[in-house]
Amino acid sequence: MLSQITAITGLNLKSIPERWASSLVIVVGLAGVVAVFTALLAMAVGFESTLKANGRTDAAIILRGGSDTELNSGLSRDTATLIKQAPGIRKGADGLPMASSEVIVIAELVRKGDTTNGANITVRGVQPEAFALRPQLKIVEGRAFKPGLRELIVGRGVTRQFQGAALGQTLRMRGSDWKVVGVFESGDSHDSELWADAEVAQTTFGRGGFSSLLVQLDGDSAFQTLKDALKADPRMSVDVQREQDYYSAQTKQFRQQIGVLAGFVTLVMALGAIFAALNTMYAAVAARGKEIATLRAIGFGGLPVLASVMIESMVLSLIGGVLGAVIAYVLFNNFSVSTLGQNFTQVVFAFKVTPGLVITGLVIALVIGFFGGLLPAWRATRMPVTTALRTA
């Protein structure tokens, strides 16, 4: 049995070059499906991993009660000072709490290649501790801003996607000029931000208080200690979240939207690809009707014939799938785009074509190949030998 399957399958596969034009239909069809599937999900994965990179479990972010994003939050100067004195926050070498009160405002920058419409960019006013709290952030060009001056450092993602914020350029915000003195990289969503001194940002934008506080937690139980302490304090109403939880909550909606889009498009394209595969395999079976009948006549069983047609269809599909994955990888891996994040500002991220995605894509290709081959294979085995030998 097995030897029969191998024999016929070998025969089929070796004859593919003679029928390359129609076999190409399966390959190209499947390449299309897998490329689209992989690219769409690579976008979702890229977005998620960018926001996840922010997430530390040993840091907590504090917002005003009931505001789910930094943009909607607001804490008065007094509240911010009170929070810093709460238990559970680690003290630095200088004996001061490791915490950064930050103020978020939004500026508009124009996307490269666009002329009129601005996109929202986060401007984050930070205190000096902010850098220690985010060790992943490195200044790669220029220098840090000087406290008290209208100077900015910009994330790598911003310089890549938007105009007017390169090193040495001047940005105009609220009637004042800001000089870009440095470029930083952090590998997370801060790459999409502009950073400035908190005090200067507050005065320029007319903000008395802060938007959020980021604090370093002191040990495992510190989160609960801090949360309880702040909750018990009647002078404030705030939400305390681990930094990781805050950012992963933000990816949920995007993940769902892309998931639905990818699912729908892949399903519809897969249907189209199955029709194409059916067409090709029916033609292949019809063209070899006599050949198959001859094999049957000299004693080959129905199952080997069935298996050979299905294997051919699946091999072609797999080739198509690999081609599609390669196309998606070459065109889209590390392809940088930006979209609106939860703070109503742009998050710059890159597509990530992961091995997991590629494998899923190939499995989809095999499934399509299986169904595309099934009916034609069935027809091939059901063909009465005598009729098939006589016709054509």
Binding site: I106, A107, M173, V265, A276, N279
Partner: protein, 386 residues
């Protein structure tokens, strides 16, 4: 047998093949219709909005509030007939459903946005009820709101001054409609009384997010925009003024370059499709070479034979394309209704236009090579099977 009959008879000589090819085309155009429609929203924006209104926002971003004291200055700008202001409330319905809620001046809103239709008594009630709100018809229907009810809406930004709570409640005093079908779809916004909001919230006083300026007939929008922006230049509250259309496009563009991704998908789909249908046509011509030779022997001209093959490709693409676009139209309308009108994906005439263009281009692309082959066929060679 007529020529048309002949084309169809040929088309259905291999029923399985034709059906499968037809199905591939239908699927491709279904995707084409929906994606193109999505693309259209992102690139063109709602194009029924005229340039009759300008939007003035803070230059740095519309999230930065600007003072209400600008209003008289804006209204006295030459070319401006009336101005109104809107402030984003950050409305949340029940647990986590974001609502479009703006704090406005009722009377000004009524004058500057004539597309929202509501009985005069309700406009009056909106002006006179401090805690009043009005809602669009679609939104009210979606949540079953009735006039006279007190609607609990939370804000994710503004606590109340009285008790520090972000849970607000407003009296529904009116439900507005759109002036036509396009606007009716957009009746999903809630308006509340700015005067009340300004007093009752904890920290935003005398500010708004943006102004809408209704222009006098014949006023030059570009000129007015420049005048307004020049007026506030070098102040802490520099402005950016643009047409409502540009404002809306900018809003959609924030979501990112969806258009680019959609174009890539379409490219992949069409390339695949072209190959499938092209291959089928080539196959069917190959099989019929002796027949075509017989036709020529009988005296059919080369051009007629070319016409037969092209017509077959055209018929296949046209039938499949129209069915596919039809399905996309149904599905789009369904999705739009299911999302309560927020996901505006129903197929518009321009999308249909692009679909028809794609059908024509595809027919030529897949039919031309086999058709030329049929035309150039030498009778002797073909009959001899060479």
């Amino acid at each position: 047998m007529t020529k048309t009959g002949f084309v169809f008879a040929n088309l259905f000589r291999k029923k399985t093949r034709t059906t499968l090819t037809l199905l591939s085309i239908i699927v491709a155009f279904l995707l084409f219709g929906l994606l193109q429609s999505l693309n259209h929203i992102f690139n063109a924006g709602p194009d029924f909005l005229g340039a009759t209104r300008l939007i003035t926002q803070a230059r740095v971003s519309f999230t930065q509030p600007i003072p209400l004291s600008m209003l008289p200055k804006l209204e006295s700008t030459p070319g401006v007939e009336r101005a109104t202001h809107s402030q984003w409330f950050g409305g949340v319905w029940q647990e986590n459903t974001q609502l479009f809620v703006f704090a406005v001046d009722p009377q000004r809103q009524h004058e500057v946005y004539p597309e929202w239709i509501m009985p005069d008594a309700q406009w009056k009630a909106f002006e006179q009820t401090r805690t009043g709100m009005i809602a669009g018809r679609n939104l009210a229907n979606q949540y079953g709101w009735k006039i006279g009810q007190k609607i609990p809406i939370s804000s994710n930004i503004y606590p109340q001054k009285s008790n520090g709570s972000k849970a607000w409640a407003f009296d529904l005093v009116g439900i507005y409609d759109g002036k036509d079908q396009d606007f009716q779809k957009r009746t999903i916004t809630v308006f509340i009384n700015h005067e009340y909001f300004d007093e009752a919230n904890q920290f935003s006083h005398g500010r708004t997010n943006f102004y809408a300026l209704k222009l006098k007939p014949g006023a030059d929008a570009g000129q007015v925009a420049r005048t307004v922006d020049a007026m506030f230049e070098n102040s802490p509250d520099e402005t950016k003024t643009m047409t409502e259309k540009d404002f809306n496009i900018g809003f959609a563009k924030q979501i990112g370059d969806i258009g680019m991704i959609v174009r890539w998908i379409l490219f992949a789909v069409f390339f695949t499709l072209l190959l499938v249908v092209g291959n089928t046509m080539a196959q069917s011509v190959r099989e019929r070479i002796p027949e075509l030779a017989v036709l020529k022997t009988l005296g059919f001209r080369d051009s007629t034979v070319l016409g037969f093959v092209l017509a077959e490709a055209g018929a296949l693409c046209f039938i499949g394309g129209v069915i596919g676009m039809g399905l996309a139209t149904l599905l789009g309308a369904f999705l739009e209704r299911a999302s309560g009108g927020q996901f505006n994906i129903a197929l518009s005439p321009p999308v249909w236009g692009m679909g028809l263009l794609a059908i024509v281009l595809m027919s030529i692309a897949v039919g031309l090579l086999p058709a030329l082959r049929a035309q150039r066929l030498k009778i002797v060679d073909a009959l001899a099977g060479r």
